[in-house]
């Protein structure tokens, strides 16, 4: 029974994924390091239970757990992760050229389960306005709360969203920070459920640290978020780098889990945007234009 007042229904419906746009994408299943030689493990992708194992020498196999014939699903290994598709995936995956630079530290910082849809997590990753409130004294601090005007465009060649000229004051922007700085950010959305940010390296003027959030949708409102880093940080140990990233995401998790609807509403009249949300608005439109229906509340027909 729906309330007589009308409006948006905010409960999540847990139907299997029939969204062909999403089914045809590559999805980051697990970090490659979790794929064990000869051992079969299972997990869930888009509501489907899948099993994975390695037969050695980079031979990774993934199949639907219920499929007794163990028909292999399309897989590939990129950026420290095993990517899987439940449909017909493209030949390539989005580029991260920094990954192959020799002086980079490529680190899988951890995987955190969050009871929220992937697009909500992506949108939170694109958001600077919450830094002083959620990441107090690390990525932001009052009274430096202003989100300055920045630019958003969609790259016509790759159909990726870019937010450029983003600037925010940060007390401790990275593990290598010793003092507050105005951080320059670039945001990039190359995949409906994956997002990357490029951020001023405290040690280099010209080059940027790369931080990715690659979400595996377990269900429409439940993700496993993989945190990928490609850093210019020769000094800090991996545990320190991982701990920094995990503590940041640990601050986001309770916020995300208190957001509702858990699915991202694509209708402009569901929530109230401000100018700081320019990239979020672009992301919602972009998902709408792609025809994504999984993890979102689609725009209502006019």
């Amino acid at each position: 029974m729906t309330h007589p007042s009308g409006g948006y229904v905010i409960a999540t419906v847990h139907n299997p994924c029939t969204d062909s746009v999403i089914l045809d994408h590559w999805h980051p299943l697990v970090p490659v390091a979790d794929v064990s030689l000869g051992e079969v493990r299972t997990t869930t992708l888009l509501g489907v239970q899948v099993s994975y194992t390695s037969d050695g020498a980079e031979r990774v196999r993934v199949w639907r757990s219920r499929d007794t014939t163990e028909q292999p699903l399309p897989t590939r290994v990129d950026y420290l992760y095993l990517w899987v598709s439940l449909g017909s995936p493209p030949d390539s995956i989005f580029e991260i050229p920094e990954f192959s630079e020799p002086d980079r530290r490529n680190v899988h910082a951890g995987t955190i389960g969050v009871h929220v849809s992937a697009p909500r997590a992506v949108e939170n990753f694109l958001d600077m306005g919450h830094f002083p409130y959620v990441h107090t004294d690390v990525l932001g601090a009052e009274p430096h709360t202003e989100v300055a005007e920045y630019d958003v465009h969609i790259d016509p060649e790759t159909n990726e969203i870019w937010a450029t000229d983003c600037v925010f004051y940060q007390p401790r922007a990275a593990t290598t920070s010793t003092e507050g700085q105005m951080s320059d950010y670039l945001y990039r959305v190359p995949h409906p459920f994956c997002v990357i940010l490029y951020k001023t390296s405290p040690l280099h003027d010209e080059r940027m640290d790369v931080i990715g959030l690659f979400c595996r949708s377990v269900g429409p409102d439940h993700i496993e978020a993989h945190m990928f880093l490609s850093l210019l940080d020769p000094d800090n140990s991996e545990p320190i780098i991982r701990k920094f990233q995990q503590s940041i995401f640990g601050q986001d998790k309770p916020i995300l889990e208190n957001q509702y609807p858990k699915l991202l509403p694509l209708d402009p009249r569901a929530e109230t945007p401000i100018r700081a949300d320019k990239v979020a608005i672009a992301y919602r439109r972009w998902l709408s234009d792609l025809g994504v229906t999984y993890g979102v509340i689609p725009e209502r027909a006019a």
């Binding site: 306005g129 202003e146 401000i274």
Partner: protein, 586 residues
């Protein structure tokens, strides 16, 4: 359960709302944020920030406003209107973002609300005449209907016969979702009222109020007895409910936001507000006057001169001008005084009611269109009401330089005198005039300006009639126009913008038509000429431009008669041309 939406329901107890807490309640499948403000008003709101849907119950209640945990948006007590968006301390548009509110009534120790309730929560005679005693509430995994039905067969023992059994029970209906049960055993009789709160289609909470408060020594026994009895009732109701077909879930829906709020706002202003300041201190300096100290959060604050004002860009999108009251060398902050205007369009009201210490505001650099000469043998300063603010800055500058001055400060009463701490530094040069009628004020001004001598200067700021009187009296006493300096709060003249003419920009060799309905300032800006402006009503003097040729239709209150007659300056925000063409030196 159709009428559930028009009924009142209890959703919390009064003790669920301790000081500055936010209680997470639920009624009919809808989550609610319930909080008590310091003025004791109980707010029942949709538990959801309008920005990104984060539960407001994880935010903070500061006694006057509720702040969202995610982006620090603040919502006001009572109205649930958003008062501050920290991401845009300057450019926030003037639009009303308001959360959804539900009515709230506190009665019998319970907080009552509803989706769209009619009338008032039930009045229960037993509780009105008795001394109500609230028992612990009990959640039940069953619909409210099933719980109400089960309650009809509920039994307990009256106080005084708690150990007995088989008391006589009578049942009466109370409102839509309540029952009054009376238990009688011999002489002993106890009445209890049970309200059933429909939380969701399959969940309820029983809230029980005894008609009479038991004596302190008996209370624990009474609690135990009812907890035990109600525990059995809960088991029975849940067992019954489990045998029934599951009801359709109550699906909460959220309202659409109004169409004007659903689109991303344009940049709010083309008036420049380059500085970001934090409200480092806010206090009441006089009746109806709030004082603010503004501290830079970036570069050090630019230098100001006495008489300077700043544009303050308010969180609600309005822009207002305030004079600095700082003395020489007082450069760590800007200090302003803001009078609450009862007819405020939102400017002074926002500063008084919404802006708090630690808020970030956007301001312009200080501009001085009211400069103080420091070569006078005697300076006369006249300030009326809040008009004293630029006078205080001037007085401090003159005082430090040991220059001869008098400050006449006109105010309603002692309580209306602002910035005592500044006045105390100025010694005997301050003359205070309190509670004078317009005639008495005129007489005092007349006495003050009676003598004009070589190198005397007069500065006045205050309400329009007082300025007019001062200018007139000074002129009569022989003060030349150029020695009388004034600053109006606002231009009360009706602006006539019906004329059409051309402006020729001499230096850029461009001629632009100014149609009726548009100001010169607007036309210049629309054609890419960067123009400073501030009040945009002909009072502050910021948008002045030199005029080379043409007849000016002065409509401002900034220029004096001599300056007007000279015809070589124009306030481009309101003034126009009486000739068909005006040549500007830009």
């Amino acid at each position: 359960m159709a009428d559930a939406f028009s009924s009142w329901h209890p959703l919390a107890t009064a003790y669920d709302l301790p000081h500055r807490h936010i209680f997470h309640g639920q009624l009919l499948g809808r989550e609610l944020a319930v909080w008590r403000a310091d003025d004791n008003f109980i707010n029942v709101w949709e538990n959801r920030c309008l920005h990104r849907g984060v539960r407001l119950s994880i935010g903070t209640n500061d006694g006057a406003e509720l702040t969202c945990r995610y982006h620090g948006w603040r919502y006001a007590n009572r109205s649930a209107g958003c008062t501050y968006i920290p991401a845009h301390p300057a450019d926030a548009p003037a639009r009303t973002i308001c959360n959804r509110t539900f009515p709230a009534v506190e009665r019998y120790g319970l907080i009552w609300s509803g989706e769209n309730p009619d009338g008032q929560p039930p009045m229960v005679e037993l509780l009105e005449t008795g001394s109500p005693f609230l028992l612990r509430n009990l959640p039940v995994n069953a619909s409210a209907d099933v719980v109400l039905e089960a309650l009809r067969d509920h039994s307990f023992q009256p106080q005084g016969r708690l150990e007995g059994q088989g008391a006589d029970m009578t049942v009466a209906i109370v409102g839509d979702y309540g029952l009054a049960l009376t238990s009688t055993d011999g002489q002993a009789s106890t009445s209890a009222v049970f309200f059933v709160q429909p939380v969701a289609a399959d969940r309820s909470v029983i809230r029980c109020v005894l008609a009479e408060t038991p004596p302190q020594s008996e209370q624990l026994k009474v609690w135990r007895h009812h907890a035990d009895a109600l525990g059995k009732l809960v088991n029975r109701a849940e067992a019954t409910f489990a045998t029934l077909p599951a009801p359709a879930p109550l699906v909460a829906t959220i309202e659409e936001v109004p169409i004007d709020l659903s689109v991303m706002p344009e940049m709010a202003t083309d008036r420049r507000a380059a500085l970001r300041v934090e409200v480092s201190r806010k206090w009441t300096t006089a009746e109806g006057i709030a004082a603010f100290e503004l501290t830079s959060i970036g570069e050090p604050l630019p230098t100001f001169q006495p008489g300077a004002h700043i544009d303050l860009h308010l969180p609600n999108g309005l822009v207002r001008q305030y004079s600095l009251t700082n003395g020489p060398g007082e450069t760590a902050y800007y200090r302003i005084g803001v009078k609450l205007d009862p007819d405020s369009a939102g400017g002074s009201r926002a500063l008084h009611e919404s802006v708090r210490e630690r808020d970030v505001l956007a301001i312009s650099e200080p501009r001085n269109n009211f400069p103080l000469r420091r070569d006078a043998l005697r300076t006369l300063l006249i300030g009326g009401g809040i008009g004293v603010t630029p006078m205080l800055a001037m007085a401090q500058a003159l005082h430090v330089m040991n220059l001869n001055f008098e400050l006449h400060y006109f105010a309603q009463s002692n309580a209306h005198l602002a910035f005592e701490e500044i006045r105390n530094t100025l010694g005997n040069s301050v003359k205070v005039h309190l509670g004078l009628s317009p005639e008495q004020t005129r007489a005092e001004i007349e006495a003050a300006v009676a003598e004009f001598d070589y190198a005397n200067q007069l500065y006045v700021c205050g309400p329009g009639p007082m300025l007019e009187a001062t200018r007139e009296l000074a002129a009569a006493a022989g003060w030349p126009d150029e020695t009388v300096h004034f600053e109006y709060f606002k231009n009360t003249n009706e602006i006539d913008d019906s004329s059409q003419f051309d402006v020729a920009l001499a230096r850029s060799a461009v001629t632009l038509p100014v149609p009726s309905g548009s100001s010169i300032l607007e036309v210049l800006r629309a054609n890419g000429v960067a123009m400073p402006s501030s009040c945009e009503q002909g009072a502050c003097g910021t948008c002045t431009v030199p005029v080379i040729d043409g007849d000016i239709d002065h409509q401002d209150v900034y220029l004096n008669q001599t300056e007007r007659a000279a015809g070589d300056k124009i306030m481009t925000c309101v003034s126009r041309a009486t000739s068909t063409r005006l040549v500007l030196d830009i």
